[in-house]
Each structure stands twice: as structure tokens, then as C-alpha cells.
Amino acid sequence: MAEEEEESELSDKQKVEIAKWFLLNSPPGEIQYVAKDVKSILNSDDLYNEAASEAFPFYNKSHLISLQLSNRSGDVLVTSFGELEGNAFLEPRTAQVAMVDHVKQVCTGVRPATDEELPSPYVEEFRCNLDAEVIKYVEETYPKGVCSVYCASGKDVEGPGSNFELAVVISAARHSPQNFCNGSWCSIWNIDFKDDQQTVEVKGKVQVGAHYFEEGNVQLDAKHECKDATLFQAPEECALAITSIIRHHETEYLASLEASYLNLPDSTFKDLRRKLPVTRTLFPWHNTLQFSLTRDISKELGIGK
């Protein structure tokens, strides 16, 4: 009891930390529900607001949530690649900057991007060509996919002779609370244009999550990383080559996820509990006397445990 009382003396800071932990561990698309419960448990608007203001931006960026631009000219992805100061996020395709209210998860305003916020015409040509190819791929592959291509470094490179990096971000989310199921697919591809080596290095990180909660709570959490490379070519060729690398690896990955699921019933799950006993017949509850007899005999013979 003494311990419990000690524990009840949580500092406000500890309470905020716990609240943030719950918020950050929300399954895809469920942070608003978690927030409601956290708020009612904390029973203090100040503490809740503090936790929410710290946790939501982090959650939104790590889940790559997409928000409709307030002028309805498309969507903006909330990702660190597009993050500018003051809760603003760049939408490179339309060269706009979206103001984001993290806790409400809405875009509250849009302004045109300034020249300083956009890459040089040289880099933009690579970015824009890649964007066009990735859009085609995402449209035919993800029924609800949103994608964007950012310049991750070297945006002021004016021409050949220097390295720069692009990042392809793909996010597909499906929320159907009425079917007790939510899920998200996030992939981030770092594209490193190495001018000195005349190669383009591609590094991918894919994260897939799903939550099914009808009369239970079951969650999938899958992560995968991979690497590939292609030649440094003209923007159009690079765009095609990189998109085909992305398509190839994501397709392979989906196939390996399918394989993991197929292996479940007969191999993976068996190491936890078998479908049938080793004897392949139901357990003989009506005749357990045989076990006590066997045990007595093995005891007498000095075998067994």
C-alpha cells in the first residue's frame, strides 16, 4: 500500500510523459480516440494540452498523415521532409505551404512557397520528373495512396558537379472504425544523387501497421529496409529507373508479407501452440488414469523427471 501511495504522487511532468506515451502508441488513425480517453483520465486540460502539443506533431510526422489543403487544391503530407518553421509544411507539387493544426489534424491555411523554400531549377527538374512517375505508380498501386517528392538536401545545387538528395514519401491509410479495422502503409525512399560517382543510391524504409479490434485487440507491426542503386542519367531516365526500383522492392515486400501470413498456421504458430496434440488426437480427459499409472511406473523405474 505504501508503494501505491508513493506512486500516486506523480509530478505533473510524469503525468504528461505518460499521456504522451499513450498518444504516441496510438494505432494508425486512432490518436483522436486515444486523446479523448487520455484527456478524461488526466482530468486536467492544462496537462492534456501540454502532452497533446508535444505528442501530436511527432505522431503526425511518423505516421505521414495526409491533410486536405484548405484551398482544396490537393493534399499535403505531414513529414519532416517538408517541415518548415511554425507548423508549416511544404507541398512541393503545387509549390504551396500549408499551415497545420497538429492536434486537430487539419490544414488551416495555404500560402505560395517562396523561392528560398523551393529547390533550384536544376534539382527541380529531377524532382518534378520523379514526382510524375511516382504519381503514376501510386495511382495504379494504392487505392488511397498519397505521395510526394521532396528535396532532402542540396536544394541550391545549380548544375552538374555537386551531390543532392531527393526523398519519395508514400502514405496510404484506411480507417474503417465501423468494421473495427484501421491500417496504414508508409514508405520513405531516400534517393542520393552522387554526381562524383555518377550513381544514384536508393534506400527504402517501409512500415505497415494494422489494428483489428472487434471483441479483441490484434495488431500488425511490420518494418522493412532495403537498398538499391542505378546510374546517374538525365532527369527523365532517372525518374523511370528510380520508380521501377521502388515498384520492384515494394512488390517484393508485399509478397514477403503474404508469405509471412501463409506461414503462420502451419509453422510459425505451431511453436506457440499446436492445433492438435503431438498424439494427433484430442486429449483423453475421460481416461487420465493411464497417465497416473505410467507416472507411477516411471517413478519406480527411476526414469522421467
Binding site: 501505491e4 505518460i18 484506411r174 479495422c181 494494422a210 479490434f213 485487440n217 490484434v218 518494418k223 480427459w285
Partner: protein, 256 residues
């Protein structure tokens, strides 16, 4: 309390322990409600007297000690810890022996414990527990799992005898996590927790142990099946909704 249960339905099951201790510290006034309503992964202690491990739960706890089903002694020792009646203890001992064989046949390893105690209305309550570490560093025979835990809790309320029949009310919970990890497919982790109930009126002619055993076996198979087919299946469906695999089907013709 409702909000707390709401959170437990959403937080990934592999974080249940952390979530529960967080809730306990935030809501110390609800600690007994939380402990009785939230199932958490089972803990194990070694019975020093017989060198065998046993499972801890609310049902074999008295103060800060836990009773071992093997020696019937509390760990750490407790002077006047409550014990089942001699008659019930006899059934408990038998149940532990038989259930250990049952566990071995289905789980190929793992730990089990059965606890019984008298309840207020002339019947008794029995709690059957199983814990299995199926990871390749644990007792996973096939070595597929990087991480693999199965915890099953079955509580059966056995009513008083009425004209040679008895009512059995079973509440079962299974919690599991499994993670596979390899170069080509990365980490693949599923975790889940489900709870179901079942009631039956059975003749006592076969004996309580036989009746309870059959119910548990049926229930465990049902739970395993619904986790495997329904729950894991639903997360798989979700993945296919996010990125339909039509391409895969075209690209990957059956190899055999």
C-alpha cells in the same frame, strides 16, 4: 475507468504491461479494478522446495506472497496464507498433474499451473494457466520465432451439484505476441489479446476434471483458430486493401 479500458483496447497488446503500470500510477484509486479487469502477461516464480516453476496470478496471491501448486507453500513464506480445503487441494494436485501432460502435448514445453479455491455458493473456482515462450531462444522447437509468447488464462466457476449436474462457467483469455525477422522480409510482428466466455451444464459422472478439461481444450482450440483465421486474417485483409496484390499475382506465377 471506462476511458482506461478504452485505452487498453487500442494500445498494442505487446505494450500491455507498460500501459497497465502507467494507468495504475495515474489512477491509484482504481488499482483493484484495473488489476481485475486488465489481463496482463503472466509472471513466473520458482518453487524452491521442488525446483519447479509456477505461474503467478491474483488467484494464488495472498499479501505479497504466491502459493505454489507443487508444494502448496507460499513464496516468499507466509505464516497464515489461505489454503484450499484438503478435499479441494487433492483435486488441485490431480489437476496440476494432468494439465501438465495436456500442456506438454499441445505446447511442447511451457509452464502450467492450476489453482482452486472455495467460493461463497457451495461450489468452487478453478484457474488454469499456461505460459509458453515459443521464441528460438526459448522453447520454440522449429526456431521460426524471434519473439513468441503465449499466455492463456482460464477461470472456471463451478456451481453446486444439482441432480447430478453442475454448471460450469468458463472465461478464457489468450494473449500472444509473435515476431519473425529475416533479411528479405524485415520484422513482422503480430500481437493480440482476446477473451471469450462459455457456459455448460454437465453431468458430474465424468468428474469435474474431465468436464473442465474438455471445456478448456475446446475453448483453446477456438481461440487459437479465431486468432489465426479471423484476427490475423483481418489484419492481412487490411494490408491487401492498402496495397492490393494484383500485381504480385501476375508477376509471381506459382513456382511449383
Amino acid at each position: 475507468m471506462e476511458a482506461a479500458m478504452g485505452l487498453m483496447r487500442r494500445i498494442p497488446p505487446k505494450h500491455t504491461e507498460t500501459a497497465l503500470s502507467a494507468l495504475l500510477s495515474l489512477m491509484p484509486n482504481h488499482s483493484s479494478d484495473l488489476l481485475s479487469q486488465v489481463d496482463q502477461p503472466l509472471q513466473v516464480l520458482c518453487d524452491v522446495q521442488c525446483g519447479k516453476e509456477f505461474i503467478l496470478c491474483e488467484y494464488n496471491r495472498d499479501a505479497d506472497s504466491y502459493r505454489s501448486p507443487w508444494s502448496n507453500k507460499y513464496h516468499p513464506p507466509l505464516e497464515d496464507g489461505s489454503l484450499p480445503s484438503l478435499e479441494l487441494r487433492k483435486l488441485e494436485t490431480e489437476a496440476n498433474d494432468i494439465f501438465a501432460i495436456y500442456r506438454d502435448q499441445y505446447y511442447e514445453g511451457g509452464i502450467s499451473s492450476v489453482y482452486m479455491w472455495e467460493d461463497d455458493n457451495e461450489g468452487f473456482v478453478a484457474c488454469f494457466l499456461i505460459k509458453k515462450d515459443g521464441s528460438k531462444t526459448g522453447q520454440g522447437r522449429r526456431g521460426y520465432l524471434e519473439e513468441g509468447a503465449w499466455d492463456a488464462i482460464h477461470v472456471i466457476e463451478v456451481g453446486p451439484e444439482e441432480e447430478e449436474n453442475t454448471n460450469y462457467r468458463l472465461t478464457s483469455t489468450v494473449m500472444l505476441t509473435l515476431t519473425t525477422n529475416n533479411e528479405s522480409s524485415g520484422t513482422f510482428s503480430l500481437s493480440g489479446s482476446i477473451r471469450r466466455q462459455m457456459s455448460m451444464k454437465l453431468s458430474v459422472a465424468d468428474g469435474h476434471l474431465c468436464n473442465m478439461g474438455r471445456m478448456i481444450e475446446e475453448m483453446e482450440s477456438k481461440l487459437r483458430n479465431s486468432l489465426d483465421q479471423v484476427y490475423f486474417g483481418k489484419t492481412r485483409e487490411m494490408v491487401c486493401t492498402l496495397r492490393p496484390p494484383s500485381e504480385v499475382a501476375q508477376m509471381r506465377m506459382p513456382e511449383s
